[in-house]
């Protein structure tokens, strides 16, 4: 039998439309402009752990609207947001769908702490729009404190061997060949995250510099940390934000580092987005930016356990 029917029920799709309208209202009230950049681009992502889908003519379906939005900022666009369909190859599960909706926005002159407050306000707004009651409490926790309070070693100072040992013990994994970030990612996703209080918003900040991606970094007590945050709610990773890196030289260095890593892992060589680097050369204004998984936010506020329950058609029925 051909599966043609939606994976979400019609009532949920009505609520989805209502909550999308609420998100747009949130930004209209704050004079943040909606933009709409191309989904199909000449350049892709360099990140080793994110994989582009390609089109037959050599294009890349974007994994995030970050690069074109930053080019708008460099051209003087001002505060802006986008509800973008994005694509990530090889991601599927209860919380992953190959194609999903990212809410991405940028605030000029803000740092990540100001942006975290706005992310919390948006979550509370959507929570209320979905009929939720009660105040939504939020906590900010450093990456280091998140590990230590979960009974794990200091993520910045523990030796690789100690991290491999604790990962092997906690997760029954053969970690002999794993690097630091593999151990940290596994512990974060499978030990720290499930232990966070589900009913409140938890912002985790100050990631290891090796996981800073496009965030600027600072040194604290001899450890280089990224001005990056992640938001968790109901055991779900919902958003990732940065106090954005604006230095084009450092950005090129990180792209090149990614390219080397990709080469060593036998992954396809990335097509570096030279247009982004040129825009940063012309001048990306000081800003903070965040990407939030809209489908996951809907799962939380509508009490759904599988992403397909909030999508008209999941990847298997697209």
């Amino acid at each position: 039998m051909i599966e043609w029917a939606p994976t979400a029920d019609i009532d949920t799709l009505h609520r989805r439309a209502m909550l999308m309208a609420a998100i747009r209202q949130f930004f209209a009230d704050r004079q943040v402009l909606e933009v709409d950049t191309p989904v199909l681009s000449a350049a892709g992502v360099t990140d080793v752990h994110v994989h582009n889908l390609r089109t037959a003519d050599g294009g890349f379906l974007l994994t995030s609207p970050e690069y074109p939005m930053k080019r708008l900022l460099a051209a003087g666009m001002g505060d802006c947001y986008q509800l973008a369909h994005v694509f990530r190859a090889d991601e599927s599960g209860a919380r992953h769908n190959r194609e999903f909706t990212l809410l991405e926005w940028y605030r000029l002159g803000w740092d990540h702490h100001q942006l975290m407050q706005e992310v919390a306000a948006l979550c509370a707004w959507v929570h209320r729009a979905a009929g939720g009651s009660g105040a939504l409490v939020s906590t900010v926790l450093s990456y280091q404190d998140a590990f230590v309070s979960a009974g794990l070693p200091d993520p910045h100072r523990a030796s690789l061997q100690a991290l491999q040992q604790v990962t092997a013990l906690k997760l029954s994994a053969n970690t002999a060949g794993w690097d630091r970030d593999a151990c940290l990612d596994a512990l974060m996703a499978l030990v720290v995250e499930p232990g966070l209080s589900p009913d409140r918003l938890t912002f985790v900040t100050d990631y290891p510099a090796s996981q800073a991606a496009l965030a600027r970094t600072h040194t604290c007590e001899g450890v280089e940390l990224g001005h990056r945050f992640e938001l968790y709610w109901q055991g779900m990773e919902l958003a990732n934000g940065y106090w954005e890196l604006t230095d084009p030289k450092e950005q090129r260095r990180r792209f090149e580092q990614d390219a080397l890593l990709r080469q060593s892992q036998g992954l396809p060589e990335p097509q570096v987005d030279e247009r982004l680097l040129a825009a940063m050369q012309a001048g990306l204004p000081e800003c903070a930016g965040v990407a939030l998984g809209v489908d996951r936010l809907l799962m939380v506020v509508l009490g759904k356990t599988h992403i397909r329950q909030v999508l008209p058609f999941d990847a298997d029925r697209a």
Binding site: S92, G93, A173, Q211, E237
Partner: protein
Amino acid sequence: MATYSTSEFKSGLKVLLEGDPCAIVENEFVKPGKGQAFSRVRLKNLKTGRVWERTFKSGESIEAADVLDIDMEYLYSDGEFWHFMKTDGSFEQLPADEAAVGDTKDWLKEQEQYVVCLFNGTPISVSPPNHIELEIVETDPGLKGDTATGGSKPATLATGAVVKVPLFINQGEIIRVDTRTREYISRAKQ
């Protein structure tokens, strides 16, 4: 040797873990937005029935196990081995040891069909049908007409298994039993 990569993991897949054949029960894809992906896997050890949890980094692989479930007819026991015969017309016989037969010993009846799990050609587990008919070899005398009080008493079956039966059931009768719950279902239809 064939191997499966994490992207091929799915429930039912038979793999080798620490030398033992296992079936994947559940595979959960876990990936932080900015980080590596992992597979959180629950596997059932097909020899012991124990369920293990393991975490694999995406791209890691695991050896395939040569495991096959086939229908076989139970023949007899020589005290050390329980002998089964293939029903595919080959009449090939295979001995299963005590570890493989396990609790199914309670439900072994000649000429009945069982699902035998073979690992590298050797039986490692035997599953009984869900329902089986067996004769009662010992129980207290039946209370005539007592079909309403709902009481029960122990009864020993031809295989040695003991199950609870209603008071009106007599020694020598054949009853239908659910092998999963060890519960009496009904008198067998003659």
